[in-house]
Symmetry: C2
Subunit: 339 residues, 2 copies
Amino acid sequence: MARDEFKVAVVGATGAVGALMVKVLEERNFPVGEIKLLASARSIGKTLGFRGRQIAVEELVKDSFKGIHLALFSAGSAVSRAFAPVAAQSGSIVVDNSSAWRMDPEVPLVVPEVNGNAAMFHRGIIANPNCSTIQMVVALKPIYDAVGIKRIVVTTFQAVSGTGKRAIEELQAQVADIMRGNETVRQVYPHQIAFNCFPHIGAFLDNGFSEEEMKMVNETRKIFDDHEIRVCATTVRIPVVYGHSESINIETVKKISPEEVRELLKAAPGVKVIDDPSNAGYPVPLDAAGTDDTFVGRIRTDPSVENGLVMWVVADNVRKGAATNAVQIAELLLDSGRL
Amino acid sequence: MARDEFKVAVVGATGAVGALMVKVLEERNFPVGEIKLLASARSIGKTLGFRGRQIAVEELVKDSFKGIHLALFSAGSAVSRAFAPVAAQSGSIVVDNSSAWRMDPEVPLVVPEVNGNAAMFHRGIIANPNCSTIQMVVALKPIYDAVGIKRIVVTTFQAVSGTGKRAIEELQAQVADIMRGNETVRQVYPHQIAFNCFPHIGAFLDNGFSEEEMKMVNETRKIFDDHEIRVCATTVRIPVVYGHSESINIETVKKISPEEVRELLKAAPGVKVIDDPSNAGYPVPLDAAGTDDTFVGRIRTDPSVENGLVMWVVADNVRKGAATNAVQIAELLLDSGRL
């Protein structure tokens, strides 16, 4: 097959991540022969630009995947549960950004820089991990490989774009209302997000952790293929539009210095080290927004525990944390001749 | 002395914390007979309200403290280094909100709910701890006393009011500029703070930690009078105006359940437990703003370590984290007949 003859479907094309998947396919020159934009019936009539043409959005139905080689899903778990198997059975390879299939033992959960090889063993569906997990494992994998990691304690600073377009609009509307002296309106979040923050991402489980926090535990174990690694997460929403930040404390098996970590990470795929704090050099979400890399800084020894390290990791949650990682999985399949 | 005859000076009265000290003295009915508002020469001409009267700001000079019983300082370290000893030698008791004297072995560092007795041994100067330390030790002291704490890992979400009035104005101006589509201006912070965050509070030291992070380490040890307790902090500025939040992982000496911690904290002075996450019940800075308590929620077992606990602690950084704590120290002296 000629490289430009792939038929690609994007499911949830009108959502924040879906629309970005279309953009990233174009930016990265993915060999798309034909693109199909799928969404629910209420998006019929909308169009999205792709390589200078306006493409009409089509309604997602069971027959949507005939002839489709690659289907990128980002329309929520319910849609993925219902339609990813349909697409796979039609012969499409599905890269699914929802949480629906991530912990299924038959579905690889893939971050190309970390466990790209796992993608080769798919049975039609490959899961894209949670945004906050992706950037953490990209930053930690080189350290994990070099000296082992026993325990991770992470606290996140997550952007509202992770919730979707309506949350971005809610933050903007609340800020505008406050500036005008009006009351704010809450529809998406249980608390005002403008000039506020809250440790609440996803529903809460019986153990007191949120779904988002347990994703970071369970997905990290699956991606590292290490069911002994101990992870504790606190995930927090802050009034930032794009870019998740993470404060990460780790305990390594063997000792490693901050200098060695910097050297390891400078050579690591998808990682950029910004670590010159005295000159205000560290990653910030505003600078990471719009980029595809994972940025690491504030690398220092944690003297409060044996073989402790602390660092600060930032990435664009809708790019590396979602759309870019999904397209990179497709590139991996392409490069290995599996697409 | 009749209880309303205390002569009180507030040094730095036109600053964010200084002005609030004046307000808190009034709110808490501190027996002020006469109040003296001191600031630098450029604040001459300003007035502040106290009990319905407008009080003129006076220039801080060496003679300012004659006849003053209590001097509350919040004018930065340089002013405290220069003038706190002068005030003490004039017979005033100084409660100093700067970092100038905190680590001096002859100066007690006091959080009334935690180590109030230390205040009794002052030699004229009592130091008010750093805002992020105060709320952490208030929340942790009941646990420390009940089962011991070996290690604390904390990541903070700090409001711009901790930097002062100019930082609040910078955040508001940047937000307004962004809403109007203008470029933002940075004068106080090295990065835009609107819709952004950065792990940079205070200057950076050779060990890679910031001054703010090391304050949390060193002040906690001094307040708990425990030089073995291990603390690792990452301190982060976020676009919130009032209220610091903290994600805290601890390792206790003896095991304790989240239920037992909740009961302990419900009975603890200055602490309010808000821990009903399924109904979005947890502390948030917007709700803590304007109050004098320390709020604790998201209390859960950290299964990644032996005797691990995680919690979320929020307080108004300029009240409990600064002005209120200073006035509470004065109340302690008053109640023990030492003022």
